[in-house]
Protein backbone atom coordinates (compact mmCIF):
# COMPACT_ATOMS: atom_id res chain seq x y z
CA UNK A 1 0.00 0.00 0.00
CA UNK A 2 2.59 2.56 1.09
CA UNK A 3 4.96 1.28 -1.60
CA UNK A 4 2.28 1.85 -4.22
CA UNK A 5 1.65 5.33 -2.87
CA UNK A 6 5.35 6.22 -3.03
CA UNK A 7 5.56 4.86 -6.57
CA UNK A 8 2.59 6.98 -7.61
CA UNK A 9 3.89 10.10 -5.91
CA UNK A 10 5.34 12.59 -8.42
CA UNK A 11 7.30 14.28 -5.61
CA UNK A 12 9.03 11.01 -4.75
CA UNK A 13 9.77 10.37 -8.42
CA UNK A 14 11.20 13.75 -9.22
CA UNK A 15 13.18 13.93 -5.99
CA UNK A 16 14.60 10.47 -6.64
CA UNK A 17 15.49 11.39 -10.22
CA UNK A 18 17.15 14.62 -9.06
CA UNK A 19 19.28 12.91 -6.41
CA UNK A 20 20.32 10.08 -8.74
CA UNK A 21 21.32 12.52 -11.48
CA UNK A 22 23.27 14.73 -9.07
CA UNK A 23 25.23 11.75 -7.74
CA UNK A 24 25.67 9.72 -10.89
CA UNK A 25 25.88 12.28 -13.71
CA UNK A 26 29.51 11.26 -14.40
CA UNK A 27 28.28 7.71 -15.08
CA UNK A 28 26.34 9.12 -18.02
CA UNK A 29 29.52 10.33 -19.73
CA UNK A 30 29.26 7.60 -22.47
CA UNK A 31 25.70 8.71 -23.17
CA UNK A 32 26.68 12.38 -23.60
CA UNK A 33 29.73 11.32 -25.64
CA UNK A 34 27.42 9.40 -27.97
CA UNK A 35 24.90 12.23 -28.15
CA UNK A 36 27.48 14.94 -28.81
CA UNK A 37 30.36 13.13 -30.64
CA UNK A 38 31.88 16.42 -31.81
CA UNK A 39 32.62 17.55 -28.22
CA UNK A 40 36.03 16.92 -26.72
CA UNK A 41 34.69 17.10 -23.14
CA UNK A 42 31.10 15.89 -23.03
CA UNK A 43 30.83 16.11 -19.22
CA UNK A 44 31.05 19.20 -17.02
CA UNK A 45 33.83 18.52 -14.51
CA UNK A 46 34.97 21.91 -13.17
CA UNK A 47 32.83 21.27 -10.06
CA UNK A 48 30.94 18.21 -8.87
CA UNK A 49 27.20 18.43 -9.52
CA UNK A 50 26.70 17.76 -5.81
CA UNK A 51 28.71 20.84 -4.89
CA UNK A 52 26.87 22.94 -7.48
CA UNK A 53 23.48 21.70 -6.26
CA UNK A 54 24.33 22.33 -2.62
CA UNK A 55 25.58 25.86 -3.20
CA UNK A 56 22.58 26.56 -5.46
CA UNK A 57 20.21 25.30 -2.79
CA UNK A 58 22.03 27.23 -0.10
CA UNK A 59 21.68 30.45 -2.08
CA UNK A 60 17.98 29.82 -2.77
CA UNK A 61 17.27 28.71 0.80
CA UNK A 62 19.02 31.70 2.36
CA UNK A 63 17.48 34.28 0.04
CA UNK A 64 13.98 32.76 0.17
CA UNK A 65 14.04 32.38 3.95
CA UNK A 66 15.14 35.99 4.34
CA UNK A 67 12.56 37.13 1.80
CA UNK A 68 9.82 35.15 3.57
CA UNK A 69 10.68 36.63 6.95
CA UNK A 70 10.96 40.19 5.66
CA UNK A 71 7.83 39.89 3.50
CA UNK A 72 5.65 38.43 6.25
CA UNK A 73 7.00 40.87 8.83
CA UNK A 74 6.44 43.80 6.47
CA UNK A 75 2.85 42.78 5.75
CA UNK A 76 2.14 42.32 9.46
CA UNK A 77 3.65 45.73 10.18
CA UNK A 78 1.49 47.60 7.67
CA UNK A 79 -1.70 45.84 8.77
CA UNK A 80 -1.31 46.79 12.46
CA UNK A 81 -2.09 50.09 14.09
CA UNK A 82 1.26 51.88 13.91
CA UNK A 83 2.26 50.76 10.42
CA UNK A 84 -1.09 51.29 8.74
CA UNK A 85 -0.08 54.63 7.27
CA UNK A 86 2.77 52.98 5.34
CA UNK A 87 0.46 50.49 3.71
CA UNK A 88 -0.24 52.54 0.58
CA UNK A 89 3.46 53.21 0.04
CA UNK A 90 4.39 49.57 0.53
CA UNK A 91 1.67 48.35 -1.81
CA UNK A 92 2.83 50.75 -4.52
CA UNK A 93 6.44 49.60 -4.09
CA UNK A 94 5.31 45.98 -4.33
CA UNK A 95 3.35 46.63 -7.50
CA UNK A 96 6.26 48.50 -9.09
CA UNK A 97 8.83 45.96 -7.96
CA UNK A 98 6.82 43.11 -9.45
CA UNK A 99 7.07 44.58 -12.92
CA UNK A 100 10.88 44.64 -12.62
CA UNK A 101 12.44 41.49 -14.13
CA UNK A 102 14.66 39.61 -11.63
CA UNK A 103 17.57 39.63 -14.06
CA UNK A 104 17.51 43.40 -14.02
CA UNK A 105 17.70 43.40 -10.22
CA UNK A 106 20.75 41.17 -10.48
CA UNK A 107 22.35 43.43 -13.05
CA UNK A 108 21.87 46.45 -10.82
CA UNK A 109 23.29 44.63 -7.79
CA UNK A 110 26.69 44.01 -9.39
CA UNK A 111 27.85 47.60 -9.86
CA UNK A 112 26.45 48.40 -6.42
CA UNK A 113 28.03 45.50 -4.53
CA UNK A 114 30.51 43.73 -6.81
CA UNK A 115 30.86 40.15 -8.02
CA UNK A 116 30.31 36.98 -5.97
CA UNK A 117 27.58 35.29 -3.98
CA UNK A 118 26.70 38.37 -1.91
CA UNK A 119 25.17 40.47 -4.69
CA UNK A 120 23.22 37.39 -5.78
CA UNK A 121 21.95 36.82 -2.26
CA UNK A 122 20.91 40.45 -1.88
CA UNK A 123 19.24 40.66 -5.29
CA UNK A 124 17.39 37.39 -4.79
CA UNK A 125 16.24 38.38 -1.32
CA UNK A 126 14.99 41.79 -2.41
CA UNK A 127 13.11 40.39 -5.36
CA UNK A 128 11.77 37.48 -3.32
CA UNK A 129 10.17 39.77 -0.72
CA UNK A 130 7.57 41.06 -3.16
CA UNK A 131 5.39 37.98 -3.78
CA UNK A 132 5.54 37.07 -0.09
CA UNK A 133 4.48 40.55 1.00
CA UNK A 134 1.72 40.74 -1.57
CA UNK A 135 0.31 37.33 -0.65
CA UNK A 136 0.58 37.93 3.08
CA UNK A 137 -1.41 41.15 2.67
CA UNK A 138 -4.02 39.28 0.62
CA UNK A 139 -4.12 36.36 3.08
CA UNK A 140 -4.49 38.56 6.16
CA UNK A 141 -7.11 40.64 4.34
CA UNK A 142 -9.14 37.52 3.59
CA UNK A 143 -9.50 36.52 7.26
CA UNK A 144 -13.23 37.01 7.90
CA UNK A 145 -14.01 40.09 9.96
CA UNK A 146 -16.46 38.08 12.01
CA UNK A 147 -13.76 35.65 13.06
CA UNK A 148 -11.51 38.50 14.15
CA UNK A 149 -14.45 40.13 15.95
CA UNK A 150 -15.24 36.89 17.77
CA UNK A 151 -11.57 36.44 18.69
CA UNK A 152 -11.44 39.92 20.25
CA UNK A 153 -14.85 39.42 21.83
CA UNK A 154 -13.84 36.30 23.72
CA UNK A 155 -10.75 38.05 25.06
CA UNK A 156 -7.83 36.99 22.87
CA UNK A 157 -4.98 39.52 22.81
CA UNK A 158 -3.69 41.08 19.58
CA UNK A 159 -0.64 38.80 19.51
CA UNK A 160 -2.77 35.74 20.17
CA UNK A 161 -5.16 36.68 17.37
CA UNK A 162 -2.26 37.16 14.94
CA UNK A 163 -0.47 33.91 15.80
CA UNK A 164 -3.49 31.74 16.61
CA UNK A 165 -6.06 32.92 14.11
CA UNK A 166 -4.88 35.30 11.38
CA UNK A 167 -1.59 33.68 10.33
CA UNK A 168 -2.92 30.09 10.37
CA UNK A 169 -5.94 31.13 8.29
CA UNK A 170 -3.75 33.09 5.88
CA UNK A 171 -1.08 30.36 5.77
CA UNK A 172 -2.08 28.74 2.46
CA UNK A 173 -1.94 32.10 0.65
CA UNK A 174 1.28 33.13 2.42
CA UNK A 175 2.94 29.83 1.52
CA UNK A 176 1.80 30.25 -2.08
CA UNK A 177 3.69 33.57 -2.04
CA UNK A 178 6.81 31.94 -0.59
CA UNK A 179 6.51 29.27 -3.26
CA UNK A 180 6.39 31.85 -6.07
CA UNK A 181 9.33 33.65 -4.51
CA UNK A 182 11.34 30.43 -4.16
CA UNK A 183 10.66 29.17 -7.68
CA UNK A 184 11.64 32.54 -9.15
CA UNK A 185 14.79 32.41 -7.04
CA UNK A 186 15.70 28.94 -8.31
CA UNK A 187 15.79 30.34 -11.83
CA UNK A 188 17.37 33.67 -10.94
CA UNK A 189 20.07 31.93 -8.88
CA UNK A 190 21.12 30.13 -12.08
CA UNK A 191 21.66 33.47 -13.78
CA UNK A 192 23.57 34.57 -10.69
CA UNK A 193 26.51 32.44 -11.88
CA UNK A 194 27.14 35.23 -14.42
CA UNK A 195 28.01 37.48 -11.48
CA UNK A 196 30.28 34.93 -9.89
CA UNK A 197 28.04 32.75 -7.70
CA UNK A 198 28.60 29.01 -8.07
CA UNK A 199 25.24 27.44 -8.96
CA UNK A 200 23.60 24.94 -11.28
CA UNK A 201 23.62 27.83 -13.75
CA UNK A 202 27.42 27.56 -14.04
CA UNK A 203 27.45 24.63 -16.53
CA UNK A 204 24.77 26.41 -18.55
CA UNK A 205 26.61 29.73 -18.72
CA UNK A 206 29.98 28.10 -19.41
CA UNK A 207 28.41 25.73 -21.92
CA UNK A 208 26.78 28.60 -23.79
CA UNK A 209 30.04 30.51 -23.75
CA UNK A 210 32.08 27.58 -25.07
CA UNK A 211 29.41 26.23 -27.42
CA UNK A 212 29.25 23.05 -25.32
CA UNK A 213 25.65 21.87 -25.57
CA UNK A 214 26.29 18.91 -23.26
CA UNK A 215 27.13 21.27 -20.36
CA UNK A 216 23.98 23.26 -21.03
CA UNK A 217 21.84 20.11 -21.06
CA UNK A 218 23.37 18.79 -17.82
CA UNK A 219 22.80 22.06 -16.00
CA UNK A 220 19.33 22.62 -17.42
CA UNK A 221 18.01 19.14 -16.56
CA UNK A 222 19.11 19.44 -12.94
CA UNK A 223 17.80 22.99 -12.68
CA UNK A 224 14.42 22.01 -14.13
CA UNK A 225 14.14 18.99 -11.86
CA UNK A 226 15.04 21.10 -8.83
CA UNK A 227 12.29 23.58 -9.63
CA UNK A 228 9.77 20.75 -10.07
CA UNK A 229 10.81 19.13 -6.78
CA UNK A 230 10.46 22.39 -4.86
CA UNK A 231 7.14 23.22 -6.48
CA UNK A 232 5.69 19.82 -5.59
CA UNK A 233 7.07 20.11 -2.06
CA UNK A 234 5.29 23.45 -1.61
CA UNK A 235 2.12 21.83 -2.92
CA UNK A 236 2.41 19.33 -0.11
CA UNK A 237 3.01 22.10 2.43
CA UNK A 238 -0.03 24.10 1.29
CA UNK A 239 -2.19 20.99 1.55
CA UNK A 240 -0.95 20.44 5.11
CA UNK A 241 -1.98 23.94 6.21
CA UNK A 242 -5.53 23.52 5.00
CA UNK A 243 -6.27 19.97 6.03
CA UNK A 244 -9.13 21.37 8.13
CA UNK A 245 -10.93 22.41 4.94
CA UNK A 246 -11.50 18.79 3.92
CA UNK A 247 -15.19 17.82 3.91
Amino acid sequence: MTVVRVLRDPLAWSLGAFILLVLFMPALRPLFAALFPELERPLYTQDSFLALSLSHLALVAASSALAAMLGVAGAIFVTRGAGAEFRGLVETLVAMGQSFPPVAVLAIAVPAIGFGAEPALIALTLYGILPVLENTLAGLGAVPRTVRDAARGIGMGEGGILLGVELPLAAPVIIAGIRTSTIINVGTAAIASTVGARTLGSPIIIGLDAANIAYVVQGAILLGLLAVVLDLAFDRLVALTQRWREP
Binding site: V147, D149, A150, R152, I154, V165, R245
Partner: protein, 308 residues
Amino acid sequence: MIELDRVTRRFGPMVAVDAVSLTIPTGAFCVLIGSSGAGKSTTLRMINRLIAPSEGTIRVDGQDAASVRPEELRRRMGYVIQSIGLFPHWTVERNIGAVPSLLGWPEARIRQRAGELLTMLKLDPEAVRRKYPHQLSIGQQQRVGIARALAADPDLLLMDEPFGALDPITRDALQAEIARIHGASRKTVVFVTHDMDEALRLATQIAIMDRGRLVQSGAPLELLTAPVNDFVRDFVGREELGMRLLSVEKVAQRFRPGETVPGEPIAVEASLRQALSLMMARGTDRIAVVDAKGRSLGAVHLADLVRR
Protein backbone atom coordinates in the same frame (compact mmCIF):
# COMPACT_ATOMS: atom_id res chain seq x y z
CA MET B 1 -25.29 43.81 37.81
CA ILE B 2 -24.48 46.10 34.91
CA GLU B 3 -24.95 49.84 35.19
CA LEU B 4 -24.70 52.13 32.20
CA ASP B 5 -24.42 55.71 33.36
CA ARG B 6 -25.06 58.35 30.67
CA VAL B 7 -23.07 56.35 28.11
CA THR B 8 -22.49 58.09 24.79
CA ARG B 9 -20.64 56.89 21.72
CA ARG B 10 -19.86 59.09 18.76
CA PHE B 11 -18.45 58.00 15.39
CA GLY B 12 -17.21 61.25 13.89
CA PRO B 13 -20.16 63.61 13.87
CA MET B 14 -22.67 60.78 14.23
CA VAL B 15 -24.01 59.96 17.69
CA ALA B 16 -24.58 56.21 17.72
CA VAL B 17 -25.50 55.97 21.39
CA ASP B 18 -26.79 59.06 23.16
CA ALA B 19 -26.55 59.34 26.95
CA VAL B 20 -28.00 55.91 27.70
CA SER B 21 -28.50 55.07 31.37
CA LEU B 22 -29.66 51.55 32.09
CA THR B 23 -29.39 49.19 35.03
CA ILE B 24 -29.47 45.47 34.38
CA PRO B 25 -29.86 43.53 37.64
CA THR B 26 -27.98 40.30 38.27
CA GLY B 27 -29.88 37.36 36.83
CA ALA B 28 -31.92 39.50 34.42
CA PHE B 29 -32.50 38.59 30.80
CA CYS B 30 -32.29 42.07 29.29
CA VAL B 31 -33.25 42.42 25.63
CA LEU B 32 -32.07 45.53 23.78
CA ILE B 33 -34.52 46.06 20.95
CA GLY B 34 -34.93 48.65 18.24
CA SER B 35 -34.73 49.04 14.49
CA SER B 36 -31.42 48.96 12.57
CA GLY B 37 -29.12 51.79 13.55
CA ALA B 38 -30.82 52.32 16.90
CA GLY B 39 -27.49 51.79 18.69
CA LYS B 40 -28.29 48.50 20.38
CA SER B 41 -25.25 46.58 19.07
CA THR B 42 -22.98 49.51 19.85
CA THR B 43 -24.37 49.55 23.39
CA LEU B 44 -23.74 45.82 23.75
CA ARG B 45 -20.22 46.11 22.37
CA MET B 46 -19.42 48.86 24.85
CA ILE B 47 -20.19 46.50 27.72
CA ASN B 48 -17.20 44.28 26.77
CA ARG B 49 -15.25 47.29 25.46
CA LEU B 50 -15.02 46.13 21.86
CA ILE B 51 -16.07 49.77 21.46
CA ALA B 52 -14.96 52.36 23.98
CA PRO B 53 -17.60 54.83 25.21
CA SER B 54 -16.97 58.45 24.23
CA GLU B 55 -18.57 59.57 27.48
CA GLY B 56 -20.15 58.01 30.53
CA THR B 57 -19.23 54.98 32.59
CA ILE B 58 -20.15 51.34 32.57
CA ARG B 59 -19.93 49.42 35.81
CA VAL B 60 -19.95 45.64 35.99
CA ASP B 61 -20.77 44.40 39.49
CA GLY B 62 -19.85 47.82 40.82
CA GLN B 63 -16.45 47.92 39.10
CA ASP B 64 -15.71 50.50 36.40
CA ALA B 65 -15.22 48.46 33.20
CA ALA B 66 -12.64 50.98 31.98
CA SER B 67 -10.37 50.10 34.91
CA VAL B 68 -9.94 46.47 33.81
CA ARG B 69 -7.72 45.25 30.97
CA PRO B 70 -10.14 44.71 28.03
CA GLU B 71 -8.99 41.12 27.39
CA GLU B 72 -9.51 40.24 31.03
CA LEU B 73 -12.94 41.85 31.06
CA ARG B 74 -14.02 39.95 27.92
CA ARG B 75 -12.88 36.60 29.28
CA ARG B 76 -15.39 37.06 32.11
CA MET B 77 -18.25 37.60 29.62
CA GLY B 78 -19.62 35.12 27.12
CA TYR B 79 -19.97 36.63 23.64
CA VAL B 80 -22.25 35.27 20.90
CA ILE B 81 -22.73 37.00 17.53
CA GLN B 82 -25.10 36.57 14.61
CA SER B 83 -22.32 35.52 12.23
CA ILE B 84 -21.19 32.98 14.87
CA GLY B 85 -17.49 33.59 14.20
CA LEU B 86 -16.18 30.13 15.06
CA PHE B 87 -12.51 29.65 14.27
CA PRO B 88 -12.75 27.65 11.03
CA HIS B 89 -9.35 25.97 11.43
CA TRP B 90 -10.04 24.73 14.96
CA THR B 91 -12.07 21.68 15.91
CA VAL B 92 -15.37 22.11 17.75
CA GLU B 93 -13.64 21.06 20.95
CA ARG B 94 -10.85 23.58 20.54
CA ASN B 95 -13.33 26.34 19.69
CA ILE B 96 -15.28 25.66 22.86
CA GLY B 97 -12.06 25.51 24.86
CA ALA B 98 -10.83 28.87 23.56
CA VAL B 99 -11.53 30.93 26.68
CA PRO B 100 -10.64 28.20 29.19
CA SER B 101 -7.28 27.74 27.48
CA LEU B 102 -6.71 31.53 27.59
CA LEU B 103 -7.43 31.23 31.31
CA GLY B 104 -4.89 28.44 31.58
CA TRP B 105 -7.18 25.55 32.46
CA PRO B 106 -5.54 22.11 32.29
CA GLU B 107 -6.16 20.18 29.06
CA ALA B 108 -8.23 17.42 30.69
CA ARG B 109 -10.59 19.88 32.34
CA ILE B 110 -11.13 21.75 29.06
CA ARG B 111 -11.99 18.51 27.28
CA GLN B 112 -14.40 17.52 30.01
CA ARG B 113 -16.05 20.94 29.99
CA ALA B 114 -16.47 20.83 26.19
CA GLY B 115 -18.19 17.47 26.51
CA GLU B 116 -20.56 18.78 29.19
CA LEU B 117 -21.50 21.83 27.12
CA LEU B 118 -22.06 19.85 23.94
CA THR B 119 -24.39 17.55 25.83
CA MET B 120 -26.18 20.51 27.38
CA LEU B 121 -26.69 22.04 23.92
CA LYS B 122 -28.01 18.73 22.58
CA LEU B 123 -25.06 17.87 20.36
CA ASP B 124 -23.47 14.43 20.55
CA PRO B 125 -19.99 15.09 21.97
CA GLU B 126 -18.40 12.03 20.42
CA ALA B 127 -19.87 12.82 16.99
CA VAL B 128 -18.88 16.47 16.80
CA ARG B 129 -15.93 17.26 19.07
CA ARG B 130 -13.32 16.49 16.41
CA LYS B 131 -15.24 18.09 13.56
CA TYR B 132 -14.49 21.46 12.01
CA PRO B 133 -17.17 24.17 11.99
CA HIS B 134 -17.81 23.95 8.24
CA GLN B 135 -18.78 20.30 8.70
CA LEU B 136 -21.76 21.34 10.85
CA SER B 137 -25.10 22.93 9.95
CA ILE B 138 -25.58 26.61 10.76
CA GLY B 139 -27.83 25.68 13.68
CA GLN B 140 -25.22 23.29 15.06
CA GLN B 141 -22.54 25.95 14.57
CA GLN B 142 -24.50 28.44 16.65
CA ARG B 143 -24.96 25.79 19.35
CA VAL B 144 -21.17 25.51 19.40
CA GLY B 145 -20.98 29.32 19.44
CA ILE B 146 -23.14 29.37 22.56
CA ALA B 147 -21.09 26.57 24.11
CA ARG B 148 -17.92 28.60 23.47
CA ALA B 149 -19.49 31.60 25.21
CA LEU B 150 -20.48 29.47 28.21
CA ALA B 151 -17.20 27.57 28.43
CA ALA B 152 -15.60 29.42 31.32
CA ASP B 153 -18.97 29.70 33.09
CA PRO B 154 -19.20 33.50 32.85
CA ASP B 155 -21.73 35.36 35.00
CA LEU B 156 -22.65 37.53 32.05
CA LEU B 157 -23.62 36.53 28.53
CA LEU B 158 -23.64 39.09 25.69
CA MET B 159 -25.61 38.01 22.64
CA ASP B 160 -25.75 40.14 19.49
CA GLU B 161 -28.69 38.95 17.36
CA PRO B 162 -27.52 35.39 17.90
CA PHE B 163 -30.45 33.75 16.16
CA GLY B 164 -30.89 36.28 13.35
CA ALA B 165 -29.45 34.05 10.64
CA LEU B 166 -31.24 30.85 11.62
CA ASP B 167 -34.31 29.26 10.06
CA PRO B 168 -37.51 29.54 12.16
CA ILE B 169 -37.44 25.98 13.47
CA THR B 170 -33.80 26.15 14.55
CA ARG B 171 -34.36 29.61 16.00
CA ASP B 172 -37.30 28.34 18.02
CA ALA B 173 -35.24 25.45 19.37
CA LEU B 174 -32.32 27.68 20.33
CA GLN B 175 -34.60 30.24 21.97
CA ALA B 176 -35.97 27.43 24.12
CA GLU B 177 -32.39 26.32 24.85
CA ILE B 178 -31.16 29.73 25.93
CA ALA B 179 -34.29 30.31 28.04
CA ARG B 180 -33.66 26.99 29.76
CA ILE B 181 -29.96 27.78 30.34
CA HIS B 182 -30.85 31.21 31.73
CA GLY B 183 -33.54 29.74 33.97
CA ALA B 184 -31.23 27.07 35.34
CA SER B 185 -28.15 29.25 35.89
CA ARG B 186 -29.47 32.72 36.69
CA LYS B 187 -26.73 34.22 34.60
CA THR B 188 -27.24 37.81 33.50
CA VAL B 189 -27.95 37.95 29.77
CA VAL B 190 -27.86 41.01 27.53
CA PHE B 191 -29.46 40.14 24.21
CA VAL B 192 -29.81 42.30 21.08
CA THR B 193 -32.62 41.67 18.62
CA HIS B 194 -35.11 43.50 16.44
CA ASP B 195 -37.71 40.74 16.75
CA MET B 196 -40.38 41.71 19.30
CA ASP B 197 -41.74 38.17 19.62
CA GLU B 198 -38.26 36.89 20.40
CA ALA B 199 -37.88 39.64 23.01
CA LEU B 200 -41.23 38.84 24.64
CA ARG B 201 -40.44 35.17 24.75
CA LEU B 202 -37.07 35.56 26.44
CA ALA B 203 -36.86 38.83 28.31
CA THR B 204 -37.36 39.67 31.95
CA GLN B 205 -36.45 43.23 31.00
CA ILE B 206 -36.82 44.95 27.63
CA ALA B 207 -35.01 48.16 26.70
CA ILE B 208 -36.33 49.84 23.57
CA MET B 209 -33.88 52.04 21.70
CA ASP B 210 -34.43 54.52 18.92
CA ARG B 211 -31.77 56.60 17.14
CA GLY B 212 -29.22 56.10 19.91
CA ARG B 213 -31.56 56.90 22.78
CA LEU B 214 -33.13 54.59 25.32
CA VAL B 215 -36.87 55.16 24.94
CA GLN B 216 -38.31 52.86 27.59
CA SER B 217 -37.06 50.04 29.77
CA GLY B 218 -39.12 47.70 31.88
CA ALA B 219 -40.73 44.31 32.25
CA PRO B 220 -42.35 42.97 29.04
CA LEU B 221 -45.88 43.34 30.43
CA GLU B 222 -45.14 46.92 31.46
CA LEU B 223 -44.06 47.83 27.94
CA LEU B 224 -47.17 46.28 26.47
CA THR B 225 -49.63 47.81 28.90
CA ALA B 226 -47.97 51.17 29.61
CA PRO B 227 -45.99 52.34 26.57
CA VAL B 228 -44.46 55.77 27.22
CA ASN B 229 -45.05 57.12 23.71
CA ASP B 230 -46.27 56.32 20.21
CA PHE B 231 -42.90 54.94 19.17
CA VAL B 232 -43.10 52.23 21.81
CA ARG B 233 -46.77 51.69 21.06
CA ASP B 234 -45.95 51.15 17.37
CA PHE B 235 -43.01 48.96 18.24
CA VAL B 236 -44.89 46.59 20.51
CA GLY B 237 -47.53 46.44 17.81
CA ARG B 238 -50.99 47.99 17.87
CA GLU B 239 -52.71 45.12 16.09
CA GLU B 240 -50.48 42.45 17.57
CA LEU B 241 -50.79 43.81 21.10
CA GLY B 242 -53.44 41.38 22.26
CA MET B 243 -51.56 38.33 21.05
CA ARG B 244 -48.35 39.64 22.55
CA LEU B 245 -50.04 40.18 25.89
CA LEU B 246 -51.07 36.53 25.75
CA SER B 247 -47.54 35.48 24.89
CA VAL B 248 -45.96 37.06 27.99
CA GLU B 249 -48.31 35.34 30.44
CA LYS B 250 -48.39 31.67 31.31
CA VAL B 251 -51.27 29.28 31.76
CA ALA B 252 -50.08 28.97 35.36
CA GLN B 253 -51.32 32.48 36.06
CA ARG B 254 -54.89 31.95 34.81
CA PHE B 255 -56.03 28.32 35.16
CA ARG B 256 -58.76 27.03 37.46
CA PRO B 257 -57.31 24.43 39.84
CA GLY B 258 -59.12 21.17 40.39
CA GLU B 259 -61.41 21.23 37.35
CA THR B 260 -61.30 18.22 35.07
CA VAL B 261 -61.85 18.51 31.34
CA PRO B 262 -61.53 15.72 28.74
CA GLY B 263 -59.12 15.88 25.83
CA GLU B 264 -55.40 16.41 25.27
CA PRO B 265 -54.04 18.71 28.08
CA ILE B 266 -51.69 21.71 27.89
CA ALA B 267 -48.61 22.23 30.08
CA VAL B 268 -48.94 24.72 32.91
CA GLU B 269 -45.71 26.38 31.69
CA ALA B 270 -47.17 27.07 28.21
CA SER B 271 -48.05 30.66 27.27
CA LEU B 272 -51.65 31.84 27.11
CA ARG B 273 -51.06 32.37 23.41
CA GLN B 274 -50.39 28.66 22.96
CA ALA B 275 -53.53 27.89 24.97
CA LEU B 276 -55.65 30.14 22.75
CA SER B 277 -54.13 28.63 19.64
CA LEU B 278 -54.97 25.15 20.87
CA MET B 279 -58.57 26.15 21.63
CA MET B 280 -58.99 27.63 18.16
CA ALA B 281 -57.54 24.52 16.54
CA ARG B 282 -59.84 22.21 18.49
CA GLY B 283 -62.93 24.42 18.42
CA THR B 284 -63.26 24.20 22.20
CA ASP B 285 -63.38 26.84 24.95
CA ARG B 286 -61.65 24.89 27.71
CA ILE B 287 -58.50 22.75 27.98
CA ALA B 288 -57.13 20.53 30.75
CA VAL B 289 -53.90 21.74 32.41
CA VAL B 290 -51.11 19.41 33.57
CA ASP B 291 -47.76 19.98 35.25
CA ALA B 292 -44.37 19.03 33.80
CA LYS B 293 -44.78 15.44 35.00
CA GLY B 294 -48.19 15.12 33.33
CA ARG B 295 -50.26 15.25 36.56
CA SER B 296 -53.63 16.90 36.16
CA LEU B 297 -53.83 20.37 37.74
CA GLY B 298 -57.11 21.82 36.47
CA ALA B 299 -58.42 23.57 33.37
CA VAL B 300 -58.15 26.89 31.59
CA HIS B 301 -61.19 28.56 29.98
CA LEU B 302 -61.39 30.96 27.04
CA ALA B 303 -62.95 33.56 29.34
CA ASP B 304 -59.84 33.34 31.59
CA LEU B 305 -57.63 34.41 28.71
CA VAL B 306 -59.64 37.48 27.77
CA ARG B 307 -59.99 38.78 31.34
CA ARG B 308 -57.42 41.48 32.17
